[in-house]
Amino acid sequence: MKKIQKGSIKNIEKIAKDTFALEINSNVMQACSGQFISILCPPKTLRRPFSIKGFKDGVLEVFFKLKGDGTNYIKALQIGDSIDFMGPLGQGFKIQNKKSLLIGAGIGIAPMLFLKDELNKKGVENFLITGFKAQDEVIEGSDKTVIGGSVIDFLPEVIEKFKPEIIYSCGPEIVLKLVTRVAQKYNLEAQIAMEKVFACQVGVCRGCVIKILKDGKIQNATICHDGPVFDAKAVVWE
């Protein structure tokens, strides 16, 4: 099936300060957490990528935070309007049957909520901790919500108590770096969902590469196609 789609807006709704939930009716057959869709936002040249927050019966859900022209374009869409997107794209989380700690920072909660759903369905024990800058930015659905401070500060405590066997995380690079460090310290596998500005969205332009360690060699990998989810141990930070 061609991964370029015209969907229609099923619902669009404010869920926190400058933050919206968008539901799209589509022909998509399958999607998993960590994957994303890329929305055309005319007259912008580049599509805007958003992590999938949920998927059921062809309805894709994403959360988006207002940043600039692209997200403001989406915000202005009305129920019933058509929307042009590519996806689901990229490699999602590789779910394992292990006690899972999920860490989301800010809008990074979106794929974590999807992952939590998937884990729950599979009966995998899990705990989602998320952090937000302020009370009015909080998005519901976590087992623990940190407001103001850094979610990282609470990790040792949570890890001692919950005793996870694997970590999944999504958020700004700075958070992912720290999550990686914590995982290393506790000797835990960690899968992290990365971000960069995308152009092609599909791995051909080489615009979104990061360095990863693979087969003992440092190599380029594209976030859009080889990721966005990477094994934290493999990522070579700039």
Partner: protein, 303 residues
């Protein structure tokens, strides 16, 4: 809708521009790759290259800047891994070749010749190591030498892609023609710098991407350049720079283009090349033109 650039047959006049379509096979999920007129590969060098460190993409008003830095798998792997796929899938391609010395280009041409690669597009916007890293493409003498030496080693269709970052594109076109190239493609990206400065909690943060500007914003420059090239040469011209719709094709035809490349717009609409070719064909058929040649003639006649 098939046309010829010199002796090289392409399926229709719409070519996917180098660097925006990878090695062609990766786009299968998103468009009918085999129906595209031809695909100019990502710029390929003798040895594999890892490309630039740091941010590589920056969106600008009606365009974007890229500094990929020629990340590519090298000519050997291209031949071993990609050509078999391209052949099997019946994808028409043009090898976009890049190097740091004249020898690099000549060797690439020799290898291409030996391996039956039918068309090469020389990316001459690369730093010329010998002349202090000025681009080959900005000096008509170096360009002449370069093209001449490639021509000696290559029997296929030789296309030279001109850079717009020069005082006189006319001199470049003349040099390329004199050196025996079969066609000119233009334009490569404009030199551009994207900067984003944020002031957060009393501190400035900066993001800077220095690279090549492409997309709709450069179309007026591209049209002007193609017109200037056409004013001095009769070589076939493959026009590009901001093409996104049927009307853009008409505009490029009117300044002298014989075929087109579509670059950045592939990112906006991944089946852009298919759509453009379809629209072009539909226009020709329904509006009473004999064929693409006929349309070209009619557009050139407009007063």
């Amino acid at each position: 809708m098939g046309i010829k650039i010199a002796n090289f047959e392409i399926k229709n006049p719409i070519i996917a521009a180098s660097g925006t379509f990878g090695y062609a096979d990766e786009y299968e999920d998103f468009c009918d790759v085999s129906k595209i007129g031809a695909i100019a590969t990502k710029g390929i060098t003798l040895e594999p290259r890892a490309g630039n460190e740091g941010d590589r993409i920056f969106e600008t008003n009606s365009g974007m800047i890229n500094r990929i830095g020629l990340e590519n798998i090298g000519i050997e792997r291209f031949i071993d891994e990609k050509i078999p796929i391209l052949k099997k899938k019946n994808i028409t391609y043009i090898l976009n070749a890049a190097g740091s010395t004249i020898e690099d280009y000549s060797k690439l041409a020799t290898i291409a010749n030996k391996n039956g690669i039918e068309a090469i597009e020389l990316n001459v916007s690369c730093p010329n190591v010998k002349s202090g890293c000025l681009e080959f493409g900005v000096d008509s003498n170096s360009l002449y030498e370069l093209v001449l030496s490639v021509r000696k080693n290559y029997d296929g269709c030789l296309i030279v892609k001109l850079t717009p970052n020069v005082t006189s594109i006319e001199n470049l076109a003349l040099a390329v023609q004199k050196a025996g190239a079969d066609a000119i493609s233009a334009i490569n990206t404009l030199k551009g710098l994207g900067i984003k400065i944020d002031f957060i909690n009393g501190k400035f943060y900066k993001k800077e991407v220095q690279g090549g500007l492409s997309g709709k914003c450069i179309k007026p420059v591209a049209l002007s350049m193609v017109k200037r090239i056409r004013s001095v040469t009769t070589l076939p011209i493959i026009g590009m720079g901001g093409i996104s719709c049927l009307n853009d094709l008409f505009e490029f035809i009117s300044v002298g283009a014989d075929a087109f490349e579509v670059g950045t717009h592939n990112f906006t609409q991944c089946d852009a090349c298919n759509i453009l070719a379809d629209n072009l064909e539909k226009f020709i058929k329904t509006k009473g033109f004999k064929d693409f040649e006929d349309l070209k003639e009619k557009i050139k006649e407009i007063k």
